[in-house]
Symmetry: C2
Subunit: 233 residues, 2 copies
DNA sequence: ACCTGAACACCGTTCAAGT
DNA sequence: ACCTGAACACCGTTCAAGT
């Protein structure tokens, strides 16, 4: 089936030093060790023992590398709940894992959010698992993609939030511009440390995500119930 | 009350060419006319008839300018619903306006999402209106900030989504990796053009945001109802 | 086909020098 | 105090030249 490609020219074929796989792995290592800020074409080339211009024999741009990284990162998202759990529990677990992964990979969000899913195999497999799980649970086919997208939107927004400084809502010197808001922020912060069942203090971002996800899922359940009763047009 | 500041040195005080206000306005003009990509320090300086280094007498960095722009952009968000409407209707209108504004200002999202609200007067006023509206409607004080944050997270994620290409979910050549997902995407697309009450085709991103916002608000209403009945610990 | 090294066209930012 | 002009330390990307 696989034919040995005909050799063009006279030289023997040489095994290339670089492959897209190796470039992706090196990029992941670099990110893991020194963060996205240090992922530059020359740093990446240096890590691979190669000159920066050599990378352009295998990828078209730095954005291409981000896309490769993104597909690999999506493998870390846990979809296992859809095998055994109820759809709403599975969806919640998936959303939590999704948020955790992207709060560690914030610079990927502008990339993935606008990126066609074609050519991203692991991403597609993830969507397949989630879609199949929802449809098996009786979700109507035309709504599934919208529901998944809505959860993703909440996840991306919340991932940003998770990386924000804890005092992001402190009004500071402009306190008198927003007294009611300032009081609510203070009350929220108090709540976070003295949570009834909480030995451990949660962050405001976590509490907001918890509330949002819980209410979104409650709304989903209600939506499904309404649709099943059948609404006459 | 306002005293004329004492003159230091011998020179008479000169009126500066540049102010933070003027810089912000020029930045907004530049963005409006040629987009965020063309907002560079030298282009901005050029627009103001000044050299790039002069800007650093008034702002510490380009990020500072983004923050000034962001506070001005937030003025465009419509909060008027909280004056007259029910809290859920007002919150929905606010979220829709918020998303519309930020889908035109995507590059601000990474800035605002992580930005302390202090020193952003218009942003604070917005939060004040929303918070006051929710609390007047009976929302418990410790939950208000979390609810607002959850809506914002959905809004930011959906704003990204709104700028994505329409065929973002087409599996392309990897179709066989995700057959169930591919079918659901096709079915969704069909739904969009043949919507029962829709003369006008909506985008998938709009449909997803509609579903997400509707369900989130339904969940909020249920949460409030439950809290009002009082749950004994 | 694949890699090197030099060069290009930008960035944001700094700083001595002027007034 | 505020602006200029030159310079700095980077970026991603291109391209002729080598093998």
């Amino acid at each position: 089936m696989d034919q040995i490609p005909p050799e063009r020219g006279r030289g023997r074929p040489r095994t290339p030093i670089l492959t897209r796989r190796r470039i992706t792995t090196a990029a992941m290592d670099l990110i893991q060790n020194s963060g996205y800020r240090s992922l530059t074409m020359s740093a990446l080339a240096n890590q691979l023992g190669v000159s920066a211009s050599a990378l352009y024999n295998h990828v078209g741009s730095k954005r291409d590398i981000m896309i490769l990284v993104q597909d690999r990162v999506n493998e870390e998202i846990d979809c296992s709940g859809f095998e055994s759990e109820e759809w709403d529990v599975a969806l919640e677990n998936w959303a939590r894992s999704y948020r955790e992964v992207y709060s560690r990979n914030i610079p990927l969000i502008p990339v993935i959010a606008v990126l066609p899913v074609a050519n991203s195999p692991h991403t597609l497999v993830m969507y397949e698992v989630v879609t199949a799980g929802l449809m098996k649970a009786g979700w109507p086919e035309p709504l599934v993609v919208n529901a998944v997208t809505a959860v993703e939107s909440l996840v991306f927004g919340s991932a940003y939030d998770a990386t924000a400084p804890g005092d992001i809502f402190d009004p500071g010197a402009l306190n008198e511009l927003a007294p009611i808001f300032a009081a609510a922020v203070a009350r929220r912060n108090l709540m976070l440390v003295t949570d009834e069942d909480g030995e451990e203090a949660r962050s405001g971002a976590d509490a907001a995500f918890d509330l949002g996800l819980r209410c979104l899922l409650a709304g989903f359940r209600e939506e499904l119930r309404t649709l099943r009763q059948g609404v006459a047009p």
